[in-house]
Amino acid sequence: MKIIVNIQLKEGVLDPQGKAVHHALSALSFNEVDDVRIGKQIVMQVNETDKDKAVARVSEMCEELLANTVIENYEIEIA
């Protein structure tokens, strides 16, 4: 099963990379951009057929390693 984990900085946590990219887009006259947030996407192939079980395991992975829950949120998606 293919699982996609999206990791984003929590709302209210300033994203320096997003800010820099936003600034660069403005410099290129893409003025319609109001905000940019940059995150990470982790794509994994998981050897499990039960969706709920797979999601539960990946949540554990996020809590223990993949995300730093002090500053980041994660979303798990089954592709």
Binding site: L14, P16, K19, L65, N68, V70
Partner: protein, 224 residues
Amino acid sequence: MKVSVVVFPGTNCEMDTKYAYEKLEADVELVFHKDATLPANTDLVVLPGGFSYGDYLRSAAIAKFSPIMKDVIRFANEGGKVLGICNGFQMLLEMGLLEGAMKRNSNVHFISKYHHLRVINNENKFLQKLNIGDVINIPIAHGEGNYFIDEQGLEKLYSNNQVLLKYADENGIDKNPNGSVDSIACICNENGNVFGLMPHPERAIETLLGSSDGVKMLQGLMEG
């Protein structure tokens, strides 16, 4: 005085740290990350600076699962002194031995230069040889040194005297190079035995090479 300096793949400040503590006449041993236990007579553990595991995923995210870390956590929980410098500070945050997290510097650049720091609290082993308000000058070198903690956590740090150093200018006025909350450069845990800072005291031990302001800090951990 036995100092154990832990070396991870990608660590690059272990020799500076060893040199600095040997100059202070400590017995220093480099400990490999794959070792299961710290040397038995360890008085101080230093997690040195560098780029453990290539900073993959997040700075220090992988290092916390190295075999030696279980024993470092045990040592810290038993009241042993632990100092995390730069990447080592990031490890202490990732392991939860210190509170908060590190983000990219607010200017998104790697910053490598001397920076002034102001002593906020000296009622601890690390800064006991300095005075509150002292301004010291030691190098910083990091890309992810933007310290974050939520408001509740910040209040707790202040009320327990866990904020030890702030980034400042030469007059001691707050000056923030990386976006850290309240310009914080160094904190300790509630029990006062685990210390983390982004600046590099081990790179400031010779006046001839720019500054010796790091000596008093490193010495502090050798006493009491």
